[in-house]
Point group: C2
């Protein structure tokens, strides 16, 4: 793990790093020392480790809860090299979408392709980050919506360090069987008028989690229209389960 | 409006009253003076104005938010005289339930019968309570689950003083058209394994609200199993919209 740059503002330290080929960002409270909870965040499709939706949340988790937060670029995203197979599939998907094919199953196909290697990478990121003095081996949370949920479901199912997860904006086409292996508390976000995920598939994914503590939060609006107050709820959810 | 007894504990004053034939309870913060937000609470079927689910919430709204809270016994409940028509219908319903008839439509029939007079009573309660010096004419919220939702939907639809409502544990059999007249922010609670309200009917009622700000919170478990953290969310919801 190699740190490449560092800044600090409003009480939060941001450290860019690479772990092998994986570019990532680590947020910690200024002056952090000793073990603390760590949240791994998975970005959405076409986004990256410093997308506004990641950064805003990461800074709140660090500043308000004292947690460490880490996000890395998924294959083919952000600062990672173009991936030939990824590009070929993305082009093919665009053509199939233009031809009117079912968007949900195309998205699910893509997530299934990326999920295996991503789970391996994210587990290696946890290993590396938890060895740092200012992070340590505290409880782990996962946050990911849309692509971050499609990849997050297999990650949370596979990784026993994860004690709580915020997921959503994704359906059960691919991941229902995997979701049934998740038993930790889940807060699951649904956009009631999501143009990319059919409502019934969202509800089916929520239904599939084996967790005895799981809460679905549904709000009106399209895929990207999650209301601001849901972030307050997310902060409290992680504080309750990891604090 | 006639006050019949008064106690105070842990910073909250409780005043029993009658308004005509209607027995009620008013909670206010100790020493309250001047206008403040007021929450009207509708109890569940077979319950009453001082049922634990009412009292616990009312005391938190008063102590944590500084609100006034009022609850009255619905016809045929609590300290109200037995109502012959109510008793006859309740007996008939029990027989029909025992015969395996659809519970949801029986509940809806009952709520439709009681809703008209209840809305009139609750509006009179608001009029009376808002004339008190320690309540005044602040913004109004409504809280009601199960029967309290079945009666609350027509009340919130009819009463322009209500600015925000927590509803749930009820379906759309009767109230979808009325729900479509509700435009204030709504937090709507669903129990995912509710043995009394079919899941699809709960979702249909949430869908029917015209509110641009509405959030559905679904948790696993049966009709009575709402997790404790939902009360924290309810407190914050009212604080956000009435505070």
């Amino acid at each position: 793990m190699r740190f490449t740059s560092e800044t600090s503002s409003d009480g939060v330290r941001e450290q860019l790093f690479t772990l092998g080929e994986i570019p990532g960002m680590l947020w910690t409270p200024d002056g952090a020392a000793g073990a603390r909870a760590l949240i791994l965040m998975g970005h959405g499709g076409g986004q990256h480790k410093m997308a506004p939706g990641i950064t805003v949340r990461a800074r709140r988790f660090a500043a308000e809860c004292g947690f460490a937060v880490v996000a890395v670029d998924v294959t083919g995203h952000g600062d990672r090299p173009r991936d030939e197979e990824f590009d070929r599939i993305a082009t093919e998907h665009q053509a199939r979408m233009d031809a009117g094919e079912d968007l949900a199953s195309l998205i699910a196909d893509f997530q299934a392709l990326v999920a295996g290697p991503t789970v391996v990478e994210w587990r290696a990121v946890l290993d590396a980050v938890q060895k740092l003095d200012h992070v340590g081996a505290g409880p782990v949370g996962y946050w990911g919506l849309s692509l971050g949920c499609g990849l997050g479901v297999p990650f949370v199912a596979a990784e026993p360090r994860v004690r709580a997860a915020v997921l959503g904006l994704a359906g059960a086409v691919v991941s229902a069987e995997t979701a049934a292996r998740i038993t930790v508390p889940v807060e699951f976000l649904v956009q009631w008028d999501d143009e990319r995920v059919p409502r019934a598939e969202s509800l089916a994914l929520f239904d599939a989690f084996a967790s005895t503590q799981k809460t679905l939060h549904a709000n009106p609006g399209k895929h990207g229209d999650i209301p601001a107050f849901e972030l307050d709820s997310t902060v409290r959810f992680f504080a309750r389960h990891l604090g």
